[in-house]
Symmetry: C2
Amino acid sequence: MQNNLNEKTTEKKITSRSEDYSQWYLDVIEAADLADSSPVRGCMIIKPYGYAIWEKIHDILDKKFKQQGVQNAYFPLFIPQSFLTKEAKHVEGFAKEVAIVTHHRLESDGHGGLKPAGELAEPLIIRPTSETIIYDTFSRWIHSYRDLPLLINQWANVVRWEMRTRPFLRTTEFLWQEGHTAHKNKEEAEEMTLKMIKEYQDFSETYMALPVIPGYKTESEKFAGADYTTCIEAMMQDGKSLQAGTSHLLGQNFAKAFEVSFLNEKGEKEYVWQTSWGVSTRLIGALIMAHSDDKGLVLPPNLAPIPVVIIPIGQGKPDYEQVLSFAKNLSVKISKETNLTINLDDRDLRPGEKFFYWEKRGVPIRIEIGPKDLQNNSVVFARRDTGEKATVLIQDVILKTRETLNDIQKSLYLKAESFRNDNTHFIDNLADFKKMVDGKGGFINSHWCGSSECEAKIKETTGATIRCVPFNQKEEVGKCILCGGKSNGRVMFAKSY
Amino acid sequence: MQNNLNEKTTEKKITSRSEDYSQWYLDVIEAADLADSSPVRGCMIIKPYGYAIWEKIHDILDKKFKQQGVQNAYFPLFIPQSFLTKEAKHVEGFAKEVAIVTHHRLESDGHGGLKPAGELAEPLIIRPTSETIIYDTFSRWIHSYRDLPLLINQWANVVRWEMRTRPFLRTTEFLWQEGHTAHKNKEEAEEMTLKMIKEYQDFSETYMALPVIPGYKTESEKFAGADYTTCIEAMMQDGKSLQAGTSHLLGQNFAKAFEVSFLNEKGEKEYVWQTSWGVSTRLIGALIMAHSDDKGLVLPPNLAPIPVVIIPIGQGKPDYEQVLSFAKNLSVKISKETNLTINLDDRDLRPGEKFFYWEKRGVPIRIEIGPKDLQNNSVVFARRDTGEKATVLIQDVILKTRETLNDIQKSLYLKAESFRNDNTHFIDNLADFKKMVDGKGGFINSHWCGSSECEAKIKETTGATIRCVPFNQKEEVGKCILCGGKSNGRVMFAKSY
């Protein structure tokens, strides 16, 4: 990674979380050099450091998918308008937010300017998601039970014309992966749906250091066109919930709309059973909001583009050459033995400026080396998450690097988990429910009768929605927090991103 | 890789090259399962096997770029119309082939259908290339000479509304990488331009086994908005030239249009000097046309998603279990020791069907193992490129795998090079020139006076264009093949893709 991007931002102060959480989020993105606004409404520019995090996410997930037998492919950006309308619920869900291509060239407007020309016979929709175009293709790829299961994934950009956007969390264009599978029966499709949400949970917990609650979406929150939607929900530091991934059982809805059928072992025609599942650059928003602090970004080591930065101290002093040469050798040694990306910051800046620079960018370990350290045969480790400093003997550096990174990874997870536990509530009356939503927020487990009317009314009156019906929902007879109707278990409410 | 995709295609015969080269190309793509047509005009679907080749290309180039200090980032898909028009030559070059978004939702058309609604105040162009949107951003990222050089790359999809399309070679949407750099002076920018075309040449020769001629494009063939364009040109088996990569010196043209300036060491404002460079999924088209034969795809080992397939023989016979178990162990062993992806094909098909299946897909080495081979403590290696078979002792399998793959890689290169040499001509009169273009084609080195008029006229009358002025052009006084005007060296003509 280059060190020279946006040195300007070193001067701007980050708003504290307690002062203005939303502004803090934007300030961290700017200070850590993750993204930039763009001249296109609702679209952001992912800067190199932010994109490097996305590359890590990509590489880890891609490997997981391939281990599951999923193959990558690439389908067109454009969807004919007529395709989008084939599955009734699907088009209902997306019609209001699609960008539409209507012309294919610019020509003179007769006043020295240019205007769109070459009107298309049928408008093309920029994919907001690719079920329709992919399943039209599946209808040609799948003939017999021997072609099943078909397990496909696509890494792509998609566009949803959002009214209110926020970097990473909700942007008009975003990057994501979308998995699409076809199976010979419902059981296999359900198994796949659950397997993938578990993969997302594992990724979130193991790499993002972010504990999540997996569960089912309600009818009103499910994907447009699915039989049901499973999701993972994570708690952010302001007590709101962020949906970090979804996996849908599509049943035979799209199969019937796009004639995706196969001949079974008896030679009879059947429709396939399908799933789709995805995560997006939104995960970077989750990362930021889960772990960062008022000093800037805090990254879990497993997703940090630069897990360790080495800072030689004493520039301009007589021993500096020796320090620098030692730092260089150490950098090569650590990188070689741990296979990690190590950054040696030998820029002509004061150490304090460098500390500040890398702190804002969330680099997990900073190693400081000065002339005194060299004399003592040691270096100083500073942890980004706790700020703790420790003197480490040179012969222990490799071991200590590994240990400290593991420990930071684990600590961040435990801290997020304990924050979530502290902000998880079980509430049985609407007044307390409202008070909690308006106050500290968090996850509120309450009874609900199962009706969409009650769900909508609770949302309207409190601002909280049902984030999920957790997989591990306990059987417990209770009364709906709104209407008092019968309930057999609590569902999880929260305000959400 | 799954083995079950498109077994149907096993039955279709591939048209021979001599019969119909264009149809042969399409047949190979279908037989090798690389791509599929789509319902969207000019857009293709890249199937898993084709995409796996693109992933190889991506990974190798991405590593090369990063070694050069280039960082990846991501910029919006959409370009405001007003941006595209800021650099006069640039818009002139692209206005006729841009897809334009004019609306952002679908609403009822009053007759049970839907129509585009929510007209945008300013139309958005789908990026045909991203100079304009990226350099607008650079104008905000670059302030001082300390911010230079800025070396950015983007992996993305782009759209050019082409009238005549062919899979991989020319599609409305395609995948590519586009590098964009800014430098403090012309020398550095020129150095970068040449460094990147050299990287492409190295990639093409080392990985694609494809010799190329690097050189300069003429004024009329250069990138719209560049000072000059460098390119690499490769010969296909029909004697046509394929441009496999370009690197442009943009000079200060875009810098002036987008106000990309910096304060130099003296505190004076200067415009940056820029380059851009790219390769696309077109490279897969080049791969196919350079090496494949009438039996299907032939892949150079360095880009083969599956370099080795193992086929156990004798299904249904008494010793088969033993053969299969041996084949499985061998597969694990080779994969472990060479780090290559090995496919064990244990499907319930006849050996001949399996041979045919993998032959069409261009897998470099097929290892056959039958009961007799086991008894003899050996296996059979079959090379895709030459069809040669060799008996290999089991203890030599790892060594022989490495050696054979290296040899195939080298042989393909030499074969392509010798084909190119055989079809490279030096011609000094227009009649012979025409005859050669209409006949065997190939690269024709002839004198040209340097005028665009002659260049255009030669194209019009012969169909051949100047592919490049080779970097290694020899000084040689001669007469323009059209007008007889003075020339100081030959340029390279050919018909092209």
